[in-house]
Subunit: 310 residues, 4 copies
């Protein structure tokens, strides 16, 4: 067989059906876990989350740009305090996902998050891309990250979010081995669902995210790469409001992912406040952490999870 | 002759006239097939289409990102059902173009499309780029795709749309060999036209598309590549409304290409609804599938097609 | 001397002053050629131009994408006719810059442009980048392009616009050798100015352009490269209106560069109409071709040009 | 040890804690230098700055594009005069940061800046990226740039801004050796702060900037690279107004970075005017240069700087 033929046989259009089916089934949406009704009969659930990457979004690239490291420090120094103050003002619980290194740099943020009644979730070791790791490395970093968050916060995390939503072929197996309650990195639905591994139920709840409901794609700036602020904050708010309004119409879940070093800026913090105000104006809304949401959905839908009892 | 000279002679500015003329004539717009009047005397024709790529938009790149595969699954799980419900609510027929692999993954979507009275059209095997294939491979994939769609749906497709509108030098010949009624991948007009091959009429109807009337360029997101959501949904709607209003003024065709995994999201589905409502508010409008449109234009303009009678 | 040292001495920060001064002076803005008053005492001059690249914007890249070639054909088939109709409706003269190959493909457009009383200007041979050519090649293509335009249109062009505004170190010398009246590719001012070559006056009028007043940066789409439509047509109009309003305030020139295959689309043609209407609403406005403008400025400012008398 | 293992050990996720801590501490935000009240009891401080890069933004890339050089010349020829006229009209002092080469090309701009009562600050030699230089080269260029600005303006600069905010591991040490009063390149806060080097106080004031409050990310255009105007000027103004309004609410500093060759255009200059008008409408505002701001913050917060007395 020639080199060219060999090359051709690696092309997607030459794959046998089992090849692409196997890829599809690695980690796939199973049954929907939207409960018959939300907690206390609320019409809508609202799960607000923050990825406290701070300095790690540059460290993971080598930590070369001092300017970008300072943008990360802004997140911890100005962004998170503004966010925590808003959450307190409106009595909204939220989930903070932190890379272990970010927690080590900013242990006082970890303490403030816990003290505020919020959830602390896993978010990789140093914001590394999982798909660049072998199984042993990804597994080792995941366990060490959980241990470190527990050590600093005093609470064992029950859920994870992969950095950059880079979910590798090993990630689901590791989450199962860690007996996590939920993951929040995938995008196959608006409502929570059970993750399937190779077609089999796993007992892991997926709380789906979407780039649509993430501030970074709209506002991240990287001078040396091509990322730019493509839309103003008014556009970002408009999109989130539309997502929220439609979730309300469907009686479903509204989930959002924000970053202290993005939304925590003076010209953007109103986005968070307006979203909270819009949700609260609806009346019948359950604000919950991701852990509470996963726990409730699992319970209402009779999902047997491997997670230790809360 | 030196290497440099040889290199120079391959540059476009060194080409002889026949070189660029040959490129131009490969597949080019011939006579306009806009009929004297639309069906039932309607002032405007509206042809709505959906490219149901779903998981294949990532599989065609190797199927490496589980996150992107989940975005594709969203299209089938949430996007298409929302779209089909809207089309039913407003009694609008549409055309769904599906890669064969997407149809194999989502056969129930194929059935729902057919059951709803919509058209199922070809859209490659696994969303491969045609221009990366040799003639035999492109031809083989095209025939297998048509067979697979027919096998799952029970209906032989009469039209095709190339994936990513990547129309190769072989595509038109293959479409002729398949005796297709129409293609919908090129952009030389607002109105249907006859395709010429090497300057000769082919009897194939082209239903022109444009990136302007496609949701993907505005909202597609690829973390690892540079694609970002550049404009909000309000901007997308504004552009489509302007295209539609001007089609109305001209008494012409308004054609649009949407994707279930893009427009099917909660914050974007209103774009489709508003477009339908605007068109219906005009009164004298013919909503048609691409196949009905091509058939009607061919008939009214006396085009002899090679397609089997419907 | 080591390789590293040699490399370092080629870096801009190691240059001697004469090195960067020489680069600066290659083609630089000299004295301003804004006349004391515009023709017939008008307060503002408006010079509208169209770059009729059509198929050449893809041919110059190798002519590989049939889809992009069809977008170019749209420009000639739908875009230019819409534009010419609008110009006629509002009695506005304009300048059309055409690559020679575009004129060869679309000779009827050339004739319609001339018949409409508009100007035909040079715009390269096949939309090649000048900075990739040696002197002899650029010179040869320029002379052949002028000859070809004259042959098709019957009129010798008196001005040029480089393709993609890629003005090489040889371009100005070639323009002088051709005894051109003006160039329209550079951006050092809002008002016409005299070009200096190596610090010396050339008698060539520069009618400055800007990407700000060009439709392409906002709406061009290239699936395989990264170009996307970043802002909607309402944003483009807003920017042009602001440029025009400020030109009115200053009693200056408003110049704009549009493309039939961009602005000629149904959802964008209103941009041209609104700009014309806004200008005409001011009352005291001189609409002129680029050639008329250059001729008038040269005459009023006592510039001795090498161009043959009109 | 294999090559692969060695490679792996250079990855961020394999770093020992001291490795990333050392990177973090190179130049980091220390104590906040926001004074108890602004000068004369003003509620808000407003520090407007302009980076007069002009031709150097292209020279630093090799000075190949004559078109881009002409865009730079526009900055000096049209942009700065418009800006200086506005600043005079509203009696607003500002800081102009100029690469030494830009000052050499445009000495009359230097004189007009000084004559207008504005500050002239350092901004590299030829807009080079610091992170591509070794220590000796960066140091040499910095000292030569300061000498050149002093020679042309008659005033020794007391502050610096790195080009493209590319702050190298050597930059802070060089600033200390130069006994500068302040730097304005980093982003860890909204308010001035003291810079720490390896965890130790330096006596250098940082006046933080942000890409959010910079015109370039929104409007810069580079035909050959991917930069495009992503948002219109109305979006830019909206963002700056939100930053300013929130600064007012907090009684803090509003700092902004603009470029004559960007904001100086006819369609953008209103952004500067509207920002000044909004600030002045607040009443209790202290408009200051960056040097005055740094001096005041240092004095009010008891910071011992190494800078010579003004």
């Amino acid at each position: 067989m020639s080199v060219t033929q060999e090359h051709d046989q690696n092309q997607p259009w030459t794959w046998a059906e089992e090849t692409w089916r196997e890829k599809l089934l690695k980690a796939r949406a199973g049954r929907c876990l939207k409960p018959a009704s939300w907690k206390n009969g609320a019409r809508m659930a609202v799960a607000v989350s923050f990825d406290s990457d701070h300095e790690t979004f540059e460290l993971r690239n080598g930590g070369i740009s001092i300017s970008r490291l300072s943008q990360g420090q802004y997140g911890a120094r100005r962004g998170t305090p503004r966010i925590l103050a808003l959450l307190e003002k409106y009595c909204v619980p939220a989930s903070f996902f932190m890379p272990a290194v970010s927690a080590m740099i900013n242990p006082e943020e970890v303490k403030a998050v816990i003290a505020g009644g919020h959830e602390l979730g896993m978010h990789s070791w140093i914001h590394e891309f999982n798909s660049r790791l072998d199984h042993a490395t990804e597994r080792d970093l995941a366990f060490r990250a959980a241990d470190m968050l527990e050590k600093i916060s005093g609470v064992r995390p029950v859920g994870m979010r992969t950095a950059s939503w880079d979910f590798s072929p090993y990630t689901l197996g590791i989450a199962r081995e860690m007996r996590l309650l939920y993951d929040s990195s995938l995008m196959a639905d608006d409502e929570p669902y059970e993750l399937l591994e190779d077609g089999q139920p796993t007992g892991i709840v997926e709380i789906p995210v979407e780039w649509i409901r993430d501030d970074a794609p709209y506002v991240a700036m990287d001078r040396m790469a091509g990322a730019r602020p493509y839309g103003g904050p008014a556009m970002v708010l408009d999109i989130l409001q539309r997502e929220l309004e439609h979730a309300w119409e469907e009686g479903g879940l509204f989930q959002v992912t924000l970053h202290p070093h993005h939304v925590g800026h003076r010209s953007r913090i109103f986005i968070l406040e307006e979203i909270i105000r819009l949700a609260q104006s609806k009346g019948s809304v359950w604000f919950c952490t991701h852990a509470e949401l996963a726990q409730y959905c699992a319970q209402e839908c009779g999902l047997v999870t491997a997670a230790p009892a809360a």
